[in-house]
Structure formats: C-alpha cells, structure tokens
Symmetry: none
Subunit: 230 residues, 2 copies
DNA sequence: AGAAAGCAAGTCCTCAGACAACCTGACAGG
DNA sequence: CCTGTCAGGTTGTCTGAGGACTTGCTTTCT
C-alpha cells in the first residue's frame, strides 16, 4: 500500500479541470467570455472529448461555467465565494443585525399579503411558545424568539428569503444571547417585548402590510439601538 | 413519429442526476453503499453510459458520491450543504429578484442618510457610465446597470450588505441579460430607464431617505413585473 | 434599400463500442 | 496459515457518429 509519489499521475479529468479553472481564476478567460469548443480543448489539452466534457461539468457544478447547447460554454464567475458563516462571524454584530432588520421589515410586508391559513396557525403557535419560553433560560428564550421571526419570514413564501434568514439565524442567535445576558434585558422588561411581537403577528394576520412593516421596524430598531449602545 | 411529444423536457444528464440524488436523499442508497455499476445504471435509466458518468461526476463534485477505479461508486454523504451560488442558480429568477428588491430598497434609504463625498462622485460616475453603455451590447449595459446599483448599496456603508449584494450579482446578471435579450427591452425603451435611475441617485445625493426608497422601489418593481410576465 | 425567411456552419448533447487500468475475491500451492 | 496467481467486474479514457440547438450569413421578397 505504498501511496508514495505520483504512482498515478492523477486522473486526466482532474488535470483538465485544474487547467480550465486556472484559465478562469488567472483572468485569461474573463467572465462572460465563451471558451473554446470541446474538440479544440481536447486537442490542446491532449485528452479525449468526454474527458473535457466531465471537466466542464465539474466547473459548471461549482458555478464557474455555464454551457448552452448550440451556443457554447461561457464563464459566469471567476471565483468560488467563501461561506457566509465565516463572513458573518467576522462582521460586526450591528451590521449583521441591520441587514437582518431590512430583510425582515420587507418580509413582514410580504407576509401580510401572502400568508395562508397554515401560516396563521404557525404564527399563533410560535407566539404562544415565545410567551411560554419567557420563563425558561436565555438560550431557550432567544430560540423561541427567532422561531417566531422565522415564521413571519416563512409566511412571505419566498424560498430565497427563507434560506437567507436561515443563513443569518446562527449569527443572530449568538449575538442576541450575548445581549440578553449582558444587559439582563428580561429582568428589566418583564413583558419580554411580548406586546410588540403580538402587534406584529396581528398585523400579518390582518393582512395589513403597512402596519406589519412598521411593527417589525419598531421592534427591531429597539433591539438594534440596544446593540449599538453596547 | 411523435413530433410534438416531450422532445426533451430537460437535459438527460440532469434527469439522471436528479434520479440518483433521490435514491440517496430518500435513503434507498445509504451512506457507505456501493451503487450499481455504470452499465447497469445506464440500462435501468435508459440512457447512455457517458450520460451516467456525467451525472455521477456532478454528484461527486457536490460531495455525495465517490468513485474508485476498479472498485465502484460509493455513497459518502446523503445531503449537501448548498452554497449560495448553487441555490440562486436553482431558484426562480422572480424569487431572487424579489429579495434583491427588498434588500436594495432599504439600502437606498440607508445610503441617503450615510453617503459620503466619495460615494457621491462614485454614484455620478456610475450613472454616467450606465448612460454611455446604452449604446453598447446587452451584457455591457447590464453590467453598467448593476454597477450603479452596487454603488448605491456601497453608499449604505454596511459590509454585510455589500457582500450580500455581491452574492446576488451573478444570478441577477444572468437573469437580466436573458430578460433584455428576450424582450428587446432596450429598443422599446430608448431611454433605458435612465430617468428613474437618475431620480434614485438624486434622492440619495439629496439625503432624502423616503424618496430614495420610493425611487428604488418603483424602478425595481417595474422590472420585477416584466420578469413575472415572462 | 430594408426586412423577413431560409440556409449552413459550428456547437453542445447523447449514444455505442472498444480498450486500458485497476480492484476484489477465489483458488491453488507453499 | 500465508502467498502468489488469476479471472471477472468496474471505472477511466478515447473515438466515431448522429441529433438538437444557436448563430450568423445569405437569399428573397416587399
């Protein structure tokens, strides 16, 4: 089992993939350009056409290339973006929260216009759960709070928006738990912000987009102000 | 014979990929199992062997499969954490654009309150460039358009927001180019929407958050309506 | 001359067959 | 038990062919 040295040079497809990826990342093939055809690439790379095809498919799966039948293969990106978890962890919590706010304010407006009956019961359940979690631990309470906000976003019925909120949720959770622990907000506010959340849910239920947006805005701005003060 | 039948609902490789992915995600092929051979799969799926190979390569790139020469293809994971480029490519363009809109409307409001002198000159340059690109190609024009919108987002001075817009930009670019080419929007509107963009920039320059938000909203809603009509 | 219809070249998509490289398990001999 | 050999099956790669689609040019008509 000596895996020492390049016993196997490495699969040809991998070599071809790396070669093509280099052309893109090094800037020789700018975004938008049509790359040479399969037969040309096969000849210049010294491999077969199917090998080129599998290499192209790999880069297409990674989001660098896009092939259109009859037209050719085009460069649609020149780098694979790093993940959001790391970016959000590096960013300032106030910036994260500000973006969360502007997302959710508009989400609330959409939710008021599109919520279904299932959404209504889900919102009701989440509101009740949040109220109940007021007696629990900090983490538990924050989770219930986020679950309620997620229910609002889900009611907007936009998969991209739901995914986006899911991306922010972990960073929000940590930041909010820190905030709650640091300021002991729940002791100084025995209501736990229940009134504002209730107003938000009622506006969504009523289908009043304007009120829903305002309710979300005031609620989130209050928390954002507390974050800035920290 | 069948002239009007489902000539090609979607590329065969894509169908094969989805079929294989289902077997994995539905649990029929547990992690660690060796899946049937290429020739067998080709026969059961009713496609050629190269088609199966490209499907397998796609799932291997996504981290679900791993093929070892001489041994077979093995399942190494049953779910994939998709990056945003992939998710946005798969999502409906209208959903993507709707999220883009709700981001940018609020970004315009923030920009009106926070723009610096550098932002103002950048906005001015971007607007001029967009105007000039009206005479160029479709891709060139879309790029100039996106650059202007990016300048507005940058003026909001929130790194997370800027990154988020950058995440959406590639998907937007593709969708907008398709839209422009499909409908020939630029011929039917010789102004290229210059007036609305000018209004947006002037509101940001003037520091009028309300007007900036409204300008962005009307401009983006018009395009969104065109997308929905497609 | 300008616009519309049609043609032809180029390109990706798919298939079929073939051979090479490689892994695995069975089997015979020590 | 250990080892070397072998046969069968599998993936890796190449080639040739034809179909489907896009694009630009050409032809034809107004």
């Amino acid at each position: 089992m000596s895996s020492l040295g390049p016993l196997r040079p490495s699969p040809l497809v991998e070599q071809a993939t790396n070669h093509l990826r280099e052309q893109i990342t090094e800037g020789h093939w700018p975004v938008g350009m049509r790359i040479p055809g399969e037969t040309t690439l096969a000849r210049t790379l010294g491999v077969g056409r199917s090998t080129v095809r599998e290499a192209v498919r790999t880069l297409a799966t990674l989001g660098l290339l896009r092939s259109r039948q009859g037209a050719g293969v085009f460069v649609i990106a020149d780098r694979v973006t790093e993940g959001w978890p790391t970016r959000l962890r590096r960013a300032a919590i106030t910036d994260v929260y500000e973006v969360r706010m502007l997302i959710e304010v508009q989400a609330a407006r959409l939710a008021a216009r599109r919520r279904t009956d299932e959404d209504l019961s889900a919102l009701d359940a989440a509101l009740t759960a949040r109220r109940a979690a007021g007696a629990g631990g900090d983490a538990e309470f924050v989770d219930a709070d986020i679950a309620l906000h997620r229910a609002v976003v889900v009611a907007a019925h936009n998969p991209v928006l739901t995914d986006l909120f899911g991306e922010f949720a972990p960073a929000l959770r940590q930041g909010l738990i820190d905030l709650v622990e640091l300021f002991g907000l729940r002791r100084e506010d025995p209501d736990h912000g229940d009134a504002t959340h209730d107003a938000l849910v009622r506006a969504v239920v009523a289908g009043d987009a304007e009120s829903a947006g305002r309710a979300a805005q005031t609620e989130l701005e209050a928390t954002l102000a507390r974050l800035r003060a920290a």
